[in-house]
């Protein structure tokens, strides 16, 4: 298994507060992804990165920003959390072919 660690694994926060989720990998994979998973919608791409400081938007990027200052870390930030951002967030890295997923971070915005 690819060494992918997400933190925090669970978080409850209030509307309007900033939140940062961290994804850490030990495989030196170039590509990293953030997805959100909601019932009925499957996995939707938020942002992805193709190298240090190289990122691009996915299909549901509004309200989210990302940063990648090191190969191993990919951060997802909600500048001002809203209830619609309550979800399970998965980080993934791209190996030679397939994606490897982290265990997920469950975020609840009250």
């Amino acid at each position: 298994d690819a060494g992918i660690t997400q933190s925090p694994r669970h978080k409850v926060t209030e509307t309007g507060t900033p939140v940062t989720l961290r994804c850490h990998q030990t495989e030196n994979h170039r590509y990293m992804y953030w997805y959100r998973q909601d019932p009925g919608h499957g996995l939707r791409l938020i942002h992805y990165s193709y190298g240090v400081k190289d990122t691009d938007k996915g299909e549901v990027s509004d309200g989210y920003s990302v940063s990648r200052s090191k190969t191993e870390d990919f951060l997802l930030t909600l500048e001002s959390a809203t209830s619609s951002q309550t979800s399970v967030y998965f980080c993934a890295t791209r190996g030679p072919g397939e994606l490897f997923f982290g265990e997920g971070s469950r975020l609840t915005v009250l």
Partner: protein, 110 residues
Amino acid sequence: QQPVQSPQAVILREGEDAVINCSSSKALYSVHWYRQKHGEAPVFLMILLKGGEQKGHEKISASFNEKKQQSSLYLTASQLSYSGTYFCGTEIGGGNDMRFGAGTRLTVKP
């Protein structure tokens, strides 16, 4: 640009077969298939590249019709362990932004 999966859900008895379909409105570079157990991260099953190459994984196989931008996942002689949600992921033009369908929930009963 999310691919469309069908059916949304299927219930089988052990030993029965199932087919899950995935289609896209865009020309596809590759199709991935993943399975997710409840409360866990998605796990890679197989990847199919342009050229209609069919790849197998035990009793699970898949096909890719690049002309129709469609892929199908075939589960034969299903086992209880096959239960879970299946996702297809698609890449357009080798861009590495992997988009997933909404998923197909498969339940295998004794």
